[in-house]
């Protein structure tokens, strides 16, 4: 496996993300229904599917595709997930614009910027039972792998492992922000829907990047 891939040929990443959200629409809504209002999958799928339609017939790079996805989420989806994931993808797009080769270091910068964007717009911090609980350990694991000089493929694996552990950790947490926070102690025992979609996104991102780097 080579170290990285060409940004200009990376729009498949966004297509893969669209596919996974579409496939997991019912699952995400079901998880959301346990402690939220059960529409997470529906809203996410609406935005991602719309992006698929807008991408048709266009020759886009990874950055442009991520920007399109982010813009659509911010401008057309609303709720909490529109601004949060919209910011997430727009930040990733900005950092990777015209970057040439995407490798572990570039991905780290993309994810770091996306994470900071989410912290700025929302109130959630680690431990609040949100997407931040998936994102933070994913980013930390990626940073650690990069600074240890591990290859891109290993770094991607580490990132997914971090995301998985973080996602699972939301099960025992009490929600402190967002709609589920109204439940208090009753929010314990269920995975957070936003942390779940965030895990699916990071896992898919890693798989697609591995494929592209072959």
């Amino acid at each position: 496996m080579s170290e990285g891939f060409n940004e200009a040929s990376g729009s498949i990443i966004v297509r893969d993300l669209i596919q996974v959200i579409h496939e997991q629409r019912a699952y995400l809504s079901e998880i959301d229904g346990a402690i939220g209002d059960g529409d997470h999958g529906i809203n996410m799928d609406k935005g991602f599917t719309l992006t698929a339609r807008r991408m048709e017939g266009q020759l886009l790079g990874m950055s442009e595709s991520l920007k399109l996805l982010g813009d659509i989420l911010v401008e057309e989806i609303g709720g909490s997930m529109g601004p949060l994931y919209g910011t997430f993808f727009k930040k990733m797009a900005r950092v990777s614009k015209g970057i040439g080769v995407v490798d572990g270091r570039v991905l780290e910068q993309m994810l770091e910027s996306a994470y900071q964007g989410i912290l700025t717009i929302g109130d959630a911090r680690v431990g609040d039972k949100t997407m931040v609980d998936t994102l933070d350990p994913a980013l930390q694991a990626l940073k650690l792998a990069n600074s240890a000089g591990r290859g891109f493929s290993d770094a991607l694996d580490a990132m997914v492992e971090g995301a998985h552990a973080g996602w699972q950790s939301t099960k025992d947490m009490i929600a402190r922000v967002g709609r589920a926070s109204r439940l208090g102690e009753r929010s314990r025992g269920t995975l957070d829907a936003g942390a779940t979609s965030c895990y699916l996104i990071i896992k898919t991102l890693a798989q697609s990047m591995k494929e592209l780097s072959k």
Binding site: D37, I42, E75, P83, L84
Partner: protein
């Protein structure tokens, strides 16, 4: 689930079309599919009054577009915040050059989207200020008032803010009095049966037969406790007790009482409930200066009621009594 719909994923688009057709004397569409405005807005020199929120709360939010009320509304998916773009376009549609007050409810999504919209509106040179309603006493303890949700008390915030703007108040004056209105307002909900989002197809929470959920939120957020259902008089007594405790009145007060159904409770029963509310307040030495009873802020087909009480001062009283007309609200 038996509903009068076409495509469950398109209920918002579909109802907005009908709403604009049915009420064309009052509301009109704008360049953005999720923004409606008053036909006569914006008015040059008047502070614009904007609100917005998820759909499913009819007549909120679009039903409050009207004379001496709200100028424009951003519309979200069912129970989901409008986009930042929609709030931004609503702000533009209400701007008469004297600034815009966005009066909305305290929910994570709305907070984020309004925040982003204000940044964009700033780029257009529009001054925007906000008031965030947090009248639901059941949603957080008094010490954490900033965490409380906005519910039916938003109606009184719009009434007061809209009236102040109509009377020529400056942006600061409109925001100050709307803030005072919501600071002087407390609400609590009682749920008797859950609601169903058409696109989901089944209720996403349950209220067992024979029970009621005290303190339920406008989207089915769990309340403070579930107990066997009681009479209308007893419901009124415990709801009022919660609200009055939170107020901690020291004097006999002049009050506005708003009783809103949650969607599927017969309006007749709201009057049975109201009768007891006024009796209790009168017995305690308070005066109900103005009452509103009906479906003012609903939650799809949820059964139950929201009780809202606002404490008046002289200015709030004058603004509450100013005539107003919209699809969902009428005041002589």
């Amino acid at each position: 689930m038996q509903r009068i719909i076409n495509d469950p994923d398109q209920v918002v688009e579909d109802y907005l079309k009908g709403f604009v057709k049915a009420h064309k004397e009052i509301v009109s569409a704008t360049g953005h599919p999720r923004v409606l405005k008053r036909v006569l807005s914006p008015q040059q020199g008047k502070v614009g009054v904007v609100t917005g929120g998820g759909s499913g709360h009819k007549p909120a939010f679009v039903g409050y577009i009207g004379r001496n009320l709200v100028d424009s509304v951003a519309v979200g998916e069912v129970f989901s915040s409008p986009t930042a773009k929609a709030f931004h376009e609503a702000i533009k549609a209400a701007d008469g050059g004297s600034g815009v007050a966005v009066l909305y409810g305290n929910y994570a999504g709305d907070n984020m989207n309004v925040k982003m919209a204000i940044e964009d509106a700033g780029d257009d040179g529009i001054t925007v200020k906000t008031v965030v309603a947090n009248d639901d006493v059941a949603s957080a303890p008094a010490a954490q008032r900033h965490k409380r949700r906005g519910v039916a008390g938003e109606v009184l915030m719009w009434k007061v803010g809209g009236a102040k703007a109509a009377l020529g108040g400056s942006l600061d004056e409109v925001v100050e009095v709307a803030q005072r209105a919501i600071d002087n307002t407390r609400s609590v909900g009682i749920g008797l049966a859950p609601c169903t989002i058409a696109a989901v197809g089944k209720p996403n929470f349950t209220i067992a037969d024979g029970t009621m959920e005290f303190g339920i939120g406008h989207h089915g957020e769990p309340g403070m406790f579930v107990q066997p259902i009681v009479s209308a008089s007893e419901m009124a007594r415990i709801a009022l007790e919660k609200i009055l405790d939170d107020f901690g009145f020291e004097h006999d007060e002049r009050l506005v009482v708003l009783v809103s159904g949650l969607g599927s409770t017969p309006v007749m029963e709201l009057y049975i409930f109201y009768d007891e509310v006024e009796s209790i307040l009168t017995a305690k030495g308070h005066k109900v200066d103005q009452a509103f009873v009906g479906n003012y802020f609903t939650s799809l087909d949820m059964a139950g009621v929201t009780l809202t009480v606002m404490k008046l001062d002289d200015e709030l009283r004058e603004l509450v009594h100013l005539s107003a007309h919209s699809v969902g609200f009428h005041q002589e």
